[in-house]
Amino acid sequence: MKLIYKFSLWYLVITFFVLIIGGVLSYYTIKNEVDREQARYLKKNIDFTVQELTRGIFPDSLSQNRMEITRLAPNTPEIDFLVRDTMVWRDYLKRMEPQVKVSASRVINKQHYFISTYGAIVDTQDITDAVVKSITGIFLIMLVVTGFVSVLISKKILMPFNKTLKAMQSFSLRQKKALQLPVTHTVEFKKLNTFLEGMIAKAQQDYQTLKEFTENASHELQTPLAIIIGKLELLMNSEINDHQAKLIISAHDAVEKLSKMGQSLTLLTKLDNREYESEDIINFSQALKESLFAFEELIEMKSLKLEQVIEENILINIHPVLNNILLNNLLSNAIRHNRENGIIDVKLSGKMLTIANTGEPLDFPPVEMFKRFRKNNQSSDSIGLGLAIVYQICEQNNIKINYGYKKRMHVLNLVFQ
């Protein structure tokens, strides 16, 4: 829900309750006022009746519809005005109505009269109606006005905030230029923008440092490794015995492995830093066929049977270098973890690539399949980064990848989005 709608909703809910309380208050205020006026009018009537009685007119002729005059015992004390509420049957409303009743007793010409009269200028029902109508009216006006005003105000007041949001959304750490946020005079937004600008400048700097470190680390590592490999190769060609040869070749292999590991980790870091983003659309079917062709010989040498069904002209958006790494890792994996005379089954149709190969089941839970340095046979020669790289590439290119072991075959499924 938009911020401004939340504000408005709360505002309206609060207004609603305030108006209800206000309605009750105004009802009682109006009713009080009307009742007081009514009482004054009735008192005047009584005063008039008292005057008439004083002039000697008979009480009977003064008693009318709303005026009752009765006699009291002469020695009872006089009652000054007594105002009370009473219920009166109203014919036209067909129900009892609360009305004001004023009574008084006066001693006139040695006779003690009790005079009482009642009436209402305005019906209680009418007051209620009026109050409800006006309150509803006010509420409706508030609703419309709040709606309009909130949209306008949100546009105006929240404009710098929305601009900041937009700038943040389109911002990428890889971009070289600093983040430019709109100028605002609202203190909170000013604080927010200053904070964001500072934080992002720092992040950009860190990102740059990290990138440089990765590149330098790779460079600085590879040079000593190149030296070691070179020295070992020179040593190999000197006069050595079999035992020394064995020592040299294990050292040589270990250095090779170290170098491969360094390169793979560098690649993973580059992937983490999203250095391979591309708008390129490539013909995946073509690339897959080329990769399969490159591995043809290796497949033959292990006496593997390759079954392939490849739909033509499947296009996907991926960096060509990454695609190459992805396919090479998947296929070499399917070859390496296969058995002699095994099968490799490659299917590409629609948006799905399936690569299945025969092989021994995993000796670890399948969920750890894509973890770094996870290998089926921990002592094996592989460095255990191939599938971690595959996973990382998939994640960054919106490719869903999952693994299963069915009918003694390892099955990897890639679904392009």
């Binding site: 190149a226 020179l234 040869a245 070499s332």
Partner: protein, 227 residues
């Protein structure tokens, strides 16, 4: 062949010059940018081995310098940066080949010889040893007059052996030479053994001497002293 090695790391430079000198190259060494420019201005070289990252300047500048002075030397870049951009930049500026560190010395040798053949002999060149001859232009190999029926990989392998005579070539080195990046993920090199076996069989069948021998524990070697 006269080669200038431009490399700031002394150990690495020594490895390269030692290997290449044994191959009969005349090697000179420049260990920084200005030294390299001095030597390039004073002498002529057939090939230049160029490290891109130097302490006092970028190797690519030297490349531009060589091109602007119209030197005819073949240029092989060696770089620790396995980045596509560097590769494209280097080759775009006129380098002949690009090798990523760490590399194998026999590989460096093979690349330099290939550059030399392309640049100075228009590719029409015979690599030979005794009765074995390879025409790198037609990609044909013969034992005396018998044409060998080799697969592409076997041909490449034979050429590699002939270029690195009397050198131990490990299975790893051979695998990377034959399969390039594809060898990366296949750390079992049985297939190298297969190729070497087939190649030896074909040479023997064509009445050639089986010069290629297994060096126990290390790999293979073309032994020129074998009778």
């Amino acid at each position: 062949m006269k080669v200038l090695v431009i490399e700031d790391n002394n150990d690495l430079a020594q490895n390269i010059t030692e290997y290449l000198t044994r191959e009969g190259y005349i090697c000179e060494l420049a260990n920084n940018h200005s030294n390299a420019i001095d030597k390039l201005s004073a002498f002529q070289y057939d090939c230049i081995v160029l490290d891109i990252l130097l302490p006092d300047g970028n190797g690519l500048d030297i490349l531009s310098f060589i091109k602007s002075e119209r030197f005819k030397s073949g240029i092989l870049i060696i770089s620790a940066k396995n980045s596509l951009d560097d590769k494209i930049n280097g080759l775009g500026l006129g380098a002949d080949d690009y090798l990523t560190k760490p590399f194998h010395l026999p590989e460096l040798n093979a690349r330099l010889k290939a550059i030399y053949r392309r640049k100075y002999l228009q590719g029409d060149y015979e690599v030979y040893f005794n009765e074995i001859r390879i025409n790198t232009n037609t990609m044909e190999a013969r034992v005396d007059d018998n044409l060998l029926d080799l697969t592409r990989k076997e041909y490449t392998l034979l050429l590699y052996f002939l270029i690195n005579q009397n050198r131990v070539l490990t299975r790893q080195t051979i695998a990377e030479h034959l399969w390039g990046d594809y060898a990366d993920n296949l750390l079992n090199f049985d297939f190298v053994y297969q190729h070497v076996k087939n190649l030896r069989k074909k040479i023997v069948l064509a009445n050639g001497t089986d010069y290629i021998e297994t060096v126990y524990g290390l790999g293979y070697k073309l032994n020129t002293s074998k009778q």
